[in-house]
């Protein structure tokens, strides 16, 4: 409950039309089914929602919350359980009115944006001046500010446009106390060209590999790197989001590259990286295409053994790559290099130029990353196995290990059978490191699937620890509690920083520093024992990890 007095202060902060405590409105924030493995997919209902339109208003909302012992939690474009409150007495700060592209600096290749600017919006504006923006795999509907400051940040374009956290050139941050600060050069009034300094970089307190997921104030502006776009200011397209046909610009070539096995695929990846070609690159499972685009057909065909062998085996080790050239000569060179590498590693290329309709469909779907969200279609929900990103080899191995785990669960019908493989594998920064997560779809209405989710997630965590990875869903309080002692006691330090910068702990810390016990209800006892053994073996002492 929120007191009338507190509610009135929120009204004063943002205007009466921009605050609500109506249960129906609040429930629209509390219904968070994605990555919510409860049978009733709700999170705690916020006590109120406030929609500020300026940084100053955000500050006033937070100060009002603090005066009344209410917590706050930011929400921008929202994609899952972590966007909602994790506890009672939380005011949800919905940032959708802060939707301005403040500046695009063409020359210095960056944009300053507010939280509710989405990837597609920024991309459209950037392309007009020959630039492009990194769009995360979750899609162009997501807020680039949110992924850069608060969540993860991998995308199909990471080969050329990196990881969201590494694209920050400056930040405006309403601290949990309500004070406004700016990091880096903008903090010294010098412009938005560098996010670090003077001296130690406070960017390191803002986020690490993951963000604080609303646990450390509210980010109201960010300067993000933009990247070269050699294509036209607009791409002529017809159709709707996924079923789109676009005029493929002359500066782009799209290839599917298929290899006989994982090792050859890996070697090709490494060589492509050293050749410094590629604008957009994604390893996808061929069955996944059919699953997301034609789920009904997929369900009917997936039992066909020959099809499984063809898609998961013969065509299983493949990636799709888009080359972008600044001239014909440049593009031709990149094509020559790609073909030479694929040849050397006994692969073959499928050139979209020879199948114009396919290329026409893939171009914008990949450059704008529109397809991944379709994975919801087959079962209504999905989850994903995330291991810590590092070398390409580790990520490919992770993909295989998780596929194997999935097959067991699919056989027992505890998740939807997607033919066992569904990696979202993306190389970063000229293939010098990589990301792999393995998606599994499930039906949220099925008790069996929900039970399967807990068990399979435990297997993922165990596999991650055995592979010396910090599972990226260490943002979950129960996983954090187990992992922190194995990984530099990171949460102890995170908590100390949180207490230093948020002395009254007014931000919702559920996905940032809180810890909780695992619910082992649906986990086989031997898996629980395995986890406990790993924890026992790998817990840090004051001298570091057991070597």
């Amino acid at each position: 409950m929120i007191s009338d007095e507190a509610y009135k202060e929120l009204e004063e902060a943002v205007g009466v039309d921009n605050v609500s405590r109506h249960p129906a409105v609040l429930d629209s924030y509390a219904f968070q089914p994605f990555e919510n493995h409860e049978s009733m997919p709700w999170c705690p209902r916020p006590v109120a929602v406030a929609l500020p339109s300026t940084t100053q208003e955000v500050s006033e909302v937070i100060k009002a919350c603090n005066r009344h012992n209410l917590k706050h939690k930011a929400f921008s474009t929202g994609w899952g359980l972590w966007c909602g409150p994790t506890t009672d007495d939380v005011v949800q700060i919905d940032l959708r009115r802060m939707n301005r592209i403040v500046e695009i600096d063409e020359k210095n290749m960056f944009a300053v944006i507010e939280p509710y600017v989405c990837g597609a919006q920024l991309q459209a504006e950037a392309m007009k001046v020959g630039l492009n923006t990194h769009i995360i795999g979750a899609g162009p509907n997501c807020s680039p500010l949110a992924s850069a400051t608060s969540m993860h940040g991998v995308g199909h374009d990471s080969i050329y446009m990196s990881y969201s956290a590494r694209n920050v050139l400056g930040l405006e941050w309403v601290m949990p106390t309500g004070e406004v600060t700016r990091l880096g050069a903008p903090g010294s009034g010098k412009g938005w060209f560098c996010g670090d300094g003077p001296g130690p970089s406070l960017r390191g307190t803002m986020r690490g590999y993951t963000g604080a997921l609303g646990g450390m104030g509210v980010f109201t502006r960010v300067a993000l790197k933009l990247y070269n776009w050699p294509g036209p200011p607009e791409i002529e397209s017809t159709g709707t989001v996924v079923d789109v046909m676009s005029e493929v610009p002359d500066c782009l070539r799209i290839f599917g590259c298929f290899f006989p096995d994982k090792d050859r695929l890996a070697d090709a990846y490494y060589d492509i990286g050293e050749a410094e070609i590629g604008y957009n690159c994604l390893k996808v499972a061929t069955p996944a295409f059919m699953m997301i685009l034609a789920p009904h057909l997929f369900k009917k065909l997936k039992g066909t053994e020959n099809l499984r062998r063809l898609l998961g085996g013969t065509l299983g080790q493949m990636f799709l790559i888009i080359l972008a050239g600044i001239s014909r000569e440049d593009l031709d060179h990149q094509v020559d290099v790609l073909k030479a590498i694929v040849d050397e590693h006994l692969g073959f290329v499928l050139d979209a130029k020879n199948i114009p309709t396919l290329g026409s469909n893939l171009a914008m779907n990949f450059i704008r990353a529109t397809m991944p969200a379709l994975v919801f279609r087959i079962g209504g929900s999905f989850s994903t196995a995330l291991g810590r990103n590092d070398s390409l080899d580790t990520q490919l191995a992770w993909g295989e290990a998780i596929a194997e785990i999935k097959r067991g669960y699919a056989k027992k019908e505890m998740i939807i059978d997607d033919m066992g493989d569904n990696p979202y594998f993306v190389p970063y920064e000229n293939n010098t490191w990589a990301h792999c997560e393995v998606v599994y779809p499930y039906d949220h209405r099925s008790e069996k699937h929900l039970a399967g989710s807990s068990a399979i997630n435990m297997d993922f965590i165990i596999n991650a620890i055995e592979s010396c990875m910090e599972p990226m869903f260490g943002v979950v309080p129960s996983a954090r509690k187990v992992l922190s002692p194995l990984t530099s006691n990171f949460n102890r330090w995170q908590r100390k920083l949180s207490e230093a910068l948020d002395p009254d702990q007014t931000s919702d810390k559920g996905f940032y520093t809180d810890e909780a016990e695992f619910d082992f209800t649906n986990v086989p006892p031997e898996r629980v024992e395995r986890l406990q053994k790993l924890v026992e073996d790998l817990t840090w002492t004051e001298l570091g990890p057991p070597e």
Binding site: K107, N108, M109, F110, S162, N167, L169, M175, E179, R182, L183, G187, S188, G189, F193, G195, D196, G197, P198, G199, P200, S201, L202, R203, G204, T205, R207, Y209, T210, K225, N228, D271, I326, S327, H333, V337, A340, I341, N389, D390, L392, T432, W433, I465, E466, C468, M469, E470, G474, V475, L486, S488, F490, A500, L501, L534, L538, G544, P545, E547
Partner: protein, 494 residues
Amino acid sequence: MQTKSTDPKVFRRAVGPENVSTEESELEHFRTAGLSSRGEPAAVVRPQGTAQLREVILLARETATNLVFTSSAPPRFRGDTVPAGEGIIVDLSGMDRILRIDRRNKVAYIEPGVTFNNLIERADEAGLKVLMPLLPRKSKSVLACFLEREPIIIPKYHWDMTDPLLCTEMVFGSGDLFRTGTAGSPGGIDRQLKAGLAHKNPLGPGATDFLRIVQGSQGTLAGVTWATIKLEAKPTVHKIYFACDDRLERLVAFTYRALRPRLGDEWLILGARSLATIIAESPGSIDELARRQAPWTLVYGVSGYRYYPEERLAVQENELARIAQAVGVRPVPEVPSCPAKKMEEILAGPSPYPYYKTVPRGAFADVAFLTTLDKAGAMVEVMSTACDAHGYPPSELGIYIQPIQQGRTAHVEFTVYYDPADEADRARACELVEAASWELDEAGAFFSRPYGSLSRIAFRNCPDSVEALRKVKQVMDPDNVLNRGKLCFGEEVV
């Protein structure tokens, strides 16, 4: 915490008596550096590993001793290793192993005492190249260099400000051990290597990035005991070009258009004096060489790699030639007294001894800051005006402009040369640097890694950051035992 008089004997317990020195011949290197004021080093302590470093820090907490880290050998110029008052020098230069080079993942595992020459040699054997800053001094620690966010000369490989530093092991001022990036993943390093990790991911662990916090902290928050460093593939063909101009704007325009699609490898702009200082083979020839150069010279490299190297080289050369023509710049294969091959060799390694900046007059002082390339010209004007005002000929000023973050940011470095034996000359340099720094600050210069008195200028602009940084310092170094009084952690700042 109250500063106590430091008894060096205490640290024998941690590192053994043979690794504690109070010899004046060693201490003198930490009394002054460049224009910085006098410090009072009481001893040099040399830990031989992480465990000993941890013991040293814990003892410092017990005894309220100020510890100042160093990992490069002398000479030193910036003053970050000169204690503010009394202090014990913690010398990590003896930890100098290259622990591993991973060719496939292009990464080196190094301790703090590894210098560029060692690393270049080992990387070269593996077919890799080290991402070089411009002519670091021979004795400079690679790890310290990148902890200080020293810019590298190939902008396309500078994706973010932490590059090329990746994962680290560090000991906080609290004495706690921490590993960053994927080095902080479960298991020890051997186990992680067996699992295939290459320690390429610099972020985390978790939702905090202690590497980023510790970078640029001048040893005020933690000591770093090893790190992984990003290397890159050695080109199979490589050429250097020059573009000379009397107008900086044209070279800036060329740079913007070239770096946007990541053309070129090495990419830096030098004023005539800096160029002459770099290429001169004797001190006496610098003046004449400087007179023979254009006011501005852009140096850039182009490369071909394993697949179709000549074709790639040709593509790069042609694209750059087209851009050059469009902006009115003419690339040439040599400048007076420096053919491309010579410059290629210069850029590939550290400075010869003596350090190149000391060659013209015996000593120097740098004013280095960040801005954007389009503002570099205005900054040069400000600096030239300040030179005029202090009777320092602008033509004798060293100027180096380095695009970083793939061209989004520019590191600008002015070098004032002076004769350390001439008190008046030294005083003039000191006054010029001080006055110019204030004026540059007014003009928009961002002093992102301020040394010595520059801290006052840098931190006065961001009192809220100072407040936050002091809280971070309290968390990581609760007894204030690490490099007291530096950056914004002294009482006089802000």
